[in-house]
Symmetry: C2
Subunit: 423 residues, 2 copies
């Protein structure tokens, strides 16, 4: 074990998920037990909170509220979209982070997030090594998009997939009750990777069940094929339900959402903020196929539906946090906790260490061979891949008919440094 003693800091970044707090809980509860770790700090709003020295102590939170983090959706520690530039371009940020760490004797840093956050954890680890500040920095992966490379899958995805499969099954039943033709367009998240949209396939038991077609961002979208697809479903089943990714593009690489969106904006990372694919397709269907079209845009519902979380995902998220602490105590830094699907007929998941250099800013997409020839549905491989990830239900504490979720006090500790202004 490590001889490095000091405090630890945990922070969250990027978009929330149903289980990112389960990972935080894993980190916190494991760190609270560790002999090498004295105080367990959290930064409010990710790396922005570190720069601002907005820290609070988990040691001072009620243990039952910390325990409730296991089942609480969204980012209880607060999130940010602040992206650290390269060390060369913005050394001041890195210097400041280590000043804050030093002021609070933080020697272990756990950053829970997606692609960009893994990049941040990596750079902080590298900078600490460069300037000789003793620090173990670990990335704990989360993303509903499941687009991180190397790791078999990512905490957060399974719960979104379970909710989508469940809700789409219900919306599919809802869509088929009438005696006239109807089209239902379900819009799902996943800008460049289609895993969430693909999970709609798990709603389907029989051929006539929804969804009838799935349109992924990996496959160029054609209105002609879409029209033929929808018409064929209407003819066979009298209703058509399609699942479509927010990020589908035409053969020229233009987002379908952009064809109709008036208010397209870009987020802090320059990513196009999408939305409105279903509106574009609705207009198309009404003009060319059928007047009765309903759109179902799952929006943020899909990433925080903890009432329908996957127990498997939830337990793995906790394990990823827990293992991050253990790996750090063993002396590791600049690594991410990955998930391994063990070989064999029974699903079994263990962890591995992945070098953050191999992860940062690489997206895992659905391979072409996991999509059918027509490009309008996924193959059995995708279903087999997702099925174990959505298994099991999380037990919630219900109060007055709704789940009780964690509420932390987040009382900020006294600042020791000059103030800093994160832009």
């Amino acid at each position: 074990m490590s001889t490095l003693k000091g405090n630890c800091l945990v922070a969250q970044s990027g978009g929330p998920t149903s289980v990112i707090n389960a990972s935080a809980c894993g980190v916190i509860q494991e760190a609270l037990k560790a002999q090498e770790i004295d105080k367990v700090y959290a930064a409010l709003h990710g790396v922005a909170g570190i720069l601002n020295e907005d820290l609070f102590l988990l040691n001072e939170e009620k243990p039952e509220e910390v325990e409730l983090l296991k089942v609480t959706p969204a980012s209880a520690l607060g999130s940010c979209r602040y992206k650290l530039k390269s060390i060369e371009a913005s050394e001041g940020d890195y210097k400041r982070i280590l000043e804050v760490f030093e002021a609070h004797n933080i020697r272990y840093f756990f950053y829970i997030g997606g692609n960009d956050s893994m990049d941040t954890a990596n750079k902080v680890s590298q900078y600490a090594q460069r300037v000789g500040y003793e620090l173990k920095a670990m990335g704990v992966p989360k993303t509903i998009d499941d687009d991180l490379p190397i790791t078999d899958h990512t905490p957060g995805f399974g719960s979104t997939a379970k909710f989508i499969a469940t809700s789409l099954k219900e919306v599919g039943l809802d869509a088929r009750v009438y005696d006239y033709q109807t089209v239902t367009i379900c819009e799902l998240m996943g800008r460049n990777a289609g895993w969430i949209t693909a999970s709609a396939a798990l709603a389907k038991d029989k051929e006539d069940d929804a969804p009838h077609f799935i349109y992924l961002p990996e496959i160029p979208f054609s209105f002609e094929q879409f029209e033929a697809d929808v018409k064929s479903a209407l003819q066979k089943y009298n209703y058509a339900v399609v699942a479509v990714s927010e990020g589908i593009k035409n053969a020229e690489g233009k987002y379908i959402a952009e064809l109709g969106a008036e208010n397209l904006t870009r987020d802090a990372f320059g990513h196009a903020q999408l939305g409105g694919v279903c509106d574009v397709l609705q207009s198309y269907v009404q003009k060319n196929i059928c007047k009765k079209v309903r759109t179902v845009n799952y929006s943020s519902i899909q990433r925080c539906a903890a009432h329908c979380a996957s127990l498997t995902d939830n337990e793995e998220a906790y394990m990823a946090g827990q293992m991050a602490v253990r790996y750090a105590l063993e002396g590791n830094t600049g690594k991410m906790v990955g998930l391994i699907r063990e070989a064999g007929p029974e699903y079994k998941c263990t962890t591995q260490l992945i070098d953050l250099n191999d992860v940062a800013n690489i997206e895992k997409k659905i391979p072409r061979e996991w999509v059918n020839e027509a490009g309008n549905f996924v193959t059995q491989e995708v279903i087999d891949y997702i099925k174990p990830l959505i298994a099991g239900e999380v037990k919630l504490q219900m109060v007055n008919g709704v789940p009780r979720y964690s509420r932390l006090e987040k009382k900020l500790v006294e600042k020791k440094l000059e103030s800093w202004n994160v832009k």
Copy 2:
């Protein structure tokens, strides 16, 4: 008990709910047990299916699939939007219905639906009496909107309210994670009655929790007040979440959705088909308040989320179906099964008979005194009214991580009459 012997027919109409099949199951299982009733028919697609003589036998369905109807969302028997005109205007329809009933010796008719369906059940009962056809026709209420009069509440509402309260709590947590100001606009169903939208209030525990404001169709909507409301929430909490009914109108009575909707259509009853309120408000917020706005349109997700159904609602829906059969066997006709909230500190619900003449086409709205003075939130009375209706969780049979729902064979019986063409 009744000496009237024969077959019975059950049918569903209007929009689906999470528990309309629980009511059907109550009717079916009670009818299958009844000595006076021989065969239990269902009409495919409501009254349209009766006119078309599209009938199938529940006696021939697998009992486990009938049992599964208890937890299955949407209308398993099929629904329709076909509206019978008055007896004077369209006597042919009524004559045809009784011909179909006579051909299959149907003497008990149970129609599960909302306002329009109660009207249909009433007219069929009246016409049968007029022409001397012995028939007991009963209405079994369902509507997520909870807008039927006299009955304390309506099966279907509690489950939608529970899902909305749950999901809005989650979306509220999701909406508050960032370190910059965000506005989230949640659009909910309920064209003229605000009960569903009001149920968002049950997501809120503390003042800073979502939703911060609730805009009901009963209260004229003012953009000025909306802007002041949202700005005050942003100032106090750094985020604002509002719940808004699809049917809000301005002081002149114009739908807010119509201010921006391009594709406004009218359904078969001449009701304006709404949608897009959240888009209109999103544009307004982006122009006048804050660039970061997310819309969450619950669309059909909210009316079929059986995975989050209320056990209370589910059991009452079953009871309503069961009691409809018992009341009919006692000789009643032209009545609806209403729900009574018994006086006392503990919530207890029993049934009553309501004359269908007193129900049809009357809408129960939220009284002005159950809305705060500013018109932007509901009072404690609404919360106390809804709270017991969302209590308890339904146990689902899970297969591969998703709920298993009923699948009926619906093998149509041989027709005995000439064909008929429902327009």
